[in-house]
Assembly symmetry: D3
Homo-oligomer: 76 residues x 6
């Protein structure tokens, strides 16, 4: 019966979403013995204008005019 909600800043391809669903289901089956048919997973792709971190919107944090430099973080 597990239910999993995943919220991402930005988007993911259909292939990436399918891989994540497969990975997370496998983990819950292997670690907890859950029935894979009962695992439900929702992936929400949240606009960077709707996701805040460190006190500001990610859309603002990553804006060139705000930062003026490349940021090292490999993903949001």
């Amino acid at each position: 019966m597990p239910f999993v909600s995943i919220r991402l800043a930005g988007t993911a391809s259909k292939q990436q979403k399918a891989e994540i669903v497969a990975d997370v289901t496998r983990s819950l089956v292997e670690r907890l013995g859950k029935n894979p048919a009962a695992v439900q997973i929702v992936i929400e792709e949240v606009s960077t204008e709707n996701y805040g971190a460190g006190g500001q919107l990610i859309a603002d944090r990553d804006a060139p005019s705000t930062r003026g430099d490349a940021h090292a973080e490999p993903g949001q």
Copy 2:
């Protein structure tokens, strides 16, 4: 004060959503004596490309090319 979140795979008509809101509110009022004015309900219509079950995206599970047969489940 109840707050209800409902996540559906796929879409629903405005009429269906209005009926679900009425049904769920009535249940909470009748079963728990909650004030109907305080019941808040959000219905999220999730793309089948963002909803996984049984280890795969529903969009892939339901695709004719993947299954090659009709599936018996009456809904998602």
Copy 3:
């Protein structure tokens, strides 16, 4: 595939929770044609010290020393 999360201020009896699960599942089956076996519902009974409404904790709003009168709302 619907997943439903219900957050209540306060507690409910096992019988009340069973009735709500039956009611909400029936609504989703009747209104949307969903497979009842695929409907998952979680009921979270939240302490009134952890639930705020109208800018204050329900635990404080309902306290006799704070209000000094009976409140008319039939439930939280």
Copy 4:
């Protein structure tokens, strides 16, 4: 590590969302001593056709043809 999810009926401007993210992060830092870098906030702007209150969709509650009068509530 706090994670905050905010669901609004209707929409908000980018400026409003940035202000809310700043306000909520500041509260968690001041009240709990949390590291601001660890505060994540998601704002979901929910269509009034997907948000129910008082047993009906907000889209129906606020419709002129349904109410026939101005409503006093300053926001949804």
Copy 5:
């Protein structure tokens, strides 16, 4: 920035929870290039009296007096 919420019916050991956190974080890093430091995961262990599936509480569904037989599902 991903935030993941996992709701389980029943309980898990600390070791199982640590493994799930490691698995899910690894998936998001590998599939999406997310920064592992930014991945937050909450695991909620929900009482079977608060988790419904198929129209009834799991606590009732699994009760011997209700079913009278062993159930084949390896986990909830």
Copy 6:
């Protein structure tokens, strides 16, 4: 109609929770013109054994035997 869910690693005092509820409600009223009576907020105090960050449980990350040093982060 806003609904806010706040998940914290660890606990908070009743006074801290009341302050957060007041702060967040004020922000939504000031920034969006929402009716304060319609703002609902739930604060979930999550055990550090159920909250993962950076690929591990916070309970493990903060354990003296694991780290062997004081950590600079002012809060979780």
